[in-house]
């Protein structure tokens, strides 16, 4: 039954994408990321842009191989560029407030994802992440390819168990 609903959602989404180019799809699955604040497009209550897993997967996937202070050895993270997501909903502002399921929150300057290929990782070592493995979403900076990012400041912006973003 759920499968049928999902399939219908996909068809509907395709229909929307082809007919109304600037409209935003409605999430068909569980919403895993909500973006609020200064955005042009929205699909949810209170002017929020909501994304489910499929919607995020629709963005071009970007891969970052890097070490982190919280993982052993080199890890491969995969997911859409934060820049692409924010662009897709016409987000404008200077700061992005990121909020996690564990109630941790941090401010990320927009400049960060404009200058660096910062991603919202959906997969770690090709596996989807759960809450138990710091999922479902984790903001990852390309530390190993940019030594200047290996500081406490950028580490603190690498928020895991991400659930919402607010652009200001």
């Amino acid at each position: 039954m759920g499968q049928v609903v999902k399939l219908a959602g996909v068809i509907f989404t395709l229909f929307l994408a082809t007919t109304v180019s600037h409209a935003m799809d409605k999430p068909t699955g569980d919403v895993i990321l909500s973006v609020s604040g200064n955005i042009e497009l929205s699909n949810g209550n209170d002017g929020q842009a909501q994304f489910d897993s499929n919607m995020l997967d629709a963005f071009p996937a970007h891969t970052i191989n890097t070490t982190t202070p919280w993982t052993d050895g080199e890890v491969t993270f995969e997911g859409p560029l934060l820049r692409d997501i924010m662009k897709s909903i016409g987000a404008t502002g200077k700061t992005l407030k990121a909020i996690a399921h564990n109630d941790y929150s941090v401010n990320i300057p927009v400049e960060d994802y404009l200058r660096y290929d910062v991603i919202i990782a959906t997969k770690r070592d090709s596996k989807e992440m759960t809450l138990r493995t710091k999922g479902p979403l984790w903001i990852i900076y390309p530390w190993d390819s940019h030594e200047e990012l290996k500081t406490e400041l950028y580490h603190s912006r690498s928020i895991w168990q991400l659930k919402a973003l607010e652009i200001q």
Binding site: T67, T68, P69, W70, T71, D72, H101, N102, D103, Y104, T130, L131, R132, T133, K134, T151, E152, H155, S156, W160, Q161
Partner: protein
């Protein structure tokens, strides 16, 4: 000094390496410490533990709300809270954060308890029935129990973090202190090394310079002393050579003199007996005797010369004015040498009188001039120089033949071909000649040498190949009052001819040359004849001859009077003078000549010849007056 420098360099090199290593060690330490500090900072280790506590509180809050039947609390939320806590198991044991927690025993222990509780309660949480009070109470008890554990963990983290910070700052402070010590030390050692280098270079340069200077000085000194030594060696060698030369000349002189004496005696016997034999031999055999007599004649000429060389000729020394003598000789010499040779006389004012046999001085001058002439086949300059010379003992130091005293120096200088060292060494030796065989007797210079030595003087010869030769004769100064020496000069002036024609018949080339020169210098005209044939040829065509100067016996065997009988017309009016090497009248054939008024005994001097010519011409004009 060099050893010290090497030691210093080594010391400084070691110090420098130690300082660099220290600096590296300090900086490395700080980097390490700063890494630790970052790991411990709030958002990493402290943050992790704080966040864990926070997440535990959220879990407890959800449980309490479920216990109180709060509708906002759901089992889904509880599961979410549980999953978030569960994620801590991995987060707090992985990466750098995990390393730090594992390293700290109490934190590690806390994490173990935390993990144990989660594992223990997983099933209960996942399958929780909100109405199961007992299960909820149990869960609350389990998670409340974790509060102090996480608290201690957080405290420990804060403590460790602080300790790391303190250690870091201590290290930074240490670096500050060490930097204060190391930097000036490095600068100072660099400065000292620079000074050492500079001084070393400078002293090395100075050393090199002074060494070079000293080497130069020593080289100069050595050169000087070497030159002095060489000079001394040269001088010594030259004196030795001269001494050997003088001794050799002495020995050769004695030998020659002895031989000449004995030879003269032998000649006398040969000559005497030959003449006796001549009287007794038949006419047709007499021709064999002539060469014997002629040979004896030449032999005695030779012995005269040898005696002259060996300083045993009879001399009649007188006080003579060498200038006057040279002036007289110049005319003769000019004729003998030809027009290509320019003769000059240089004389010092107030020239002293010399004490010597004037005839021999003339001979010497003539001999030397002839030698000079031979040395200058294309002409040149002949300079006769006269000067007073005072020889001190020092002057004669290097000439064993000379002795100190006053001398009149007569030097004859030519611009001829010169002689080399080897020739010079032998030049006074009898029979030594550089001329072709038959051209010179090799006795000319020997005679001059012997005469000068016999006269108490000495002779010096200098020559450079291609430049010329200078022969210096030192004759002793006359000590007595000036004698009326003008006689010779006066006589010679008076005895000069007046372009009278002289027929000179002589088969000896040297004598022919000499007599010709002498006659020309005395202002006579000369017709030479080497043989009777030549004379005959001349006499057949001649109108008149003033004087006939003839050898007694010619090589063709004919004696003078017999020959002259062929031309009674001419010979009748001419004054006839015979030159004879033999004592006239010692043989039968020449006996009738003994009464002949004009006979010149060979060897004769120019003055004797002049006198004889004068007398003969006087006699002739006198007889012409008597018998016109």
């Amino acid at each position: 000094m060099l050893k010290n420098t090497k030691f210093l360099y080594t010391a400084f090199a070691i110090a420098f390496i130690v300082m660099i290593a220290s600096a590296y060690w300090l900086i490395r330490g700080v980097v390490d410490e700063s890494g630790k500090v970052e790991t411990f900072t709030r958002d990493t280790v402290i943050g992790v533990s704080a966040q864990t506590s926070q997440e535990l509180y959220s879990m407890l809050d959800t449980l309490y709300r479920i216990q109180n039947n709060d509708e906002s609390a759901t089992i889904d939320e509880l599961n979410k809270r549980f999953d978030i806590l569960w994620s801590r198991i991995e987060t707090n044991s992985s990466g750098q954060v995990g390393d730090v927690i594992n390293r700290i025993p109490s934190a590690n222990e806390g994490m173990q308890k935390f993990k144990a509780v989660l594992t223990r309660t997983e099933n209960t949480v996942v399958n929780l029935n909100p109405s199961d009070r007992e299960a909820i109470d149990q869960l609350l008890a389990e998670y409340r129990g974790l509060l102090p554990v996480l608290n201690i963990m957080r405290q420990t983290m804060i403590y460790e973090s602080s300790r790391a910070s303190v250690s870091f700052f201590n290290r930074v402070q240490q670096i500050g202190i060490w930097a204060k010590i190391l930097l000036p030390s490095m600068l100072l050692s660099g400065f000292i090394v620079a000074i050492i280098f500079y001084r070393d270079r400078k002293s090395l340069n100075d050393l090199t310079n002074s060494l070079e200077l000293r080497v130069e000085e020593r080289t100069g000194e050595l050169k000087q002393s070497n030159e002095a030594l060489l000079d001394e060696i040269r001088e010594r060698k030259s004196i030795e050579e001269k001494l050997v030369q003088a001794q050799k000349m002495e020995v050769v002189g004695q030998l020659t003199g002895g031989i000449a004496h004995d030879f003269n005696n032998l000649l006398a016997i040969i000559q005497g007996n030959a003449e006796l034999l001549e009287a007794k031999l038949p006419e047709d055999s007499q021709k064999f005797l002539k060469p014997v007599l002629r040979a004896a004649d030449r032999g005695s000429e030779l012995t005269q010369r040898l005696l002259a060389f060996s300083r045993q000729q009879p001399l009649t020394p007188a006080s003579i004015d060498l200038l006057a003598l040279s002036n007289d000789m110049t005319i003769l010499l000019q004729r003998a040498l030809g027009a290509e040779t320019e003769i000059s006389i240089v004389v010092e004012d107030g020239l002293w009188l010399a004490h010597a046999d004037p005839g021999q001085v003339e001979n010497a001058l003539l001999n030397l001039a002839i030698n000079a002439d031979h040395a200058m086949p294309r002409g040149g300059r002949l300079k006769i120089e006269l000067r007073n010379t005072q020889l001190t003992p020092k002057d004669v130091e290097d000439n064993p033949e000379a002795s100190p005293g006053d001398y009149v120096q007569l030097s004859i200088q030519d611009t001829g071909v010169g002689m080399n060292e080897d020739t010079l060494r032998h030049v006074f030796e009898p029979f030594f000649t550089t001329k072709e065989v038959g051209k010179g007797s090799g006795l000319g210079l020997s005679m001059v040498y012997g005469f000068v030595r016999q006269s108490g003087g000495h002779i010096d010869i200098e020559s450079t190949v291609g430049v010329g030769t200078n022969v210096k004769i030192f004759l002793p100064r006359a000590t007595g009052a000036r004698q009326p020496n003008d006689r010779a000069k006066l006589n010679l002036e008076v005895l000069r001819g007046d372009q009278e024609l002289v027929l000179l018949i002589e088969d000896d080339m040297d004598l022919l040359t000499f007599a010709t020169d002498a006659l020309l210098s005395l202002n006579y005209r000369v017709q030479q004849a080497k043989t009777h044939d030549e004379a005959r040829k001349f006499l057949s065509d001649a109108d008149r001859v003033d004087v006939i100067l003839s050898d007694v016996i010619m090589t063709d065997g004919m004696i003078g009077p017999e020959f002259f009988a062929e031309f009674p017309d001419i010979t009748g009016q001419a004054a006839i003078i015979y030159m004879s090497g033999l004592s006239i009248g010692s043989s039968k054939r020449t006996r009738h000549l003994a009464n002949h008024p004009f006979i010149l005994n060979k060897p004769f001097k120019r003055r004797e010849m002049a006198l004889m010519l004068h007398r003969a011409l006087d006699q002739k004009s006198l007889s012409a007056e008597i018998n016109p």
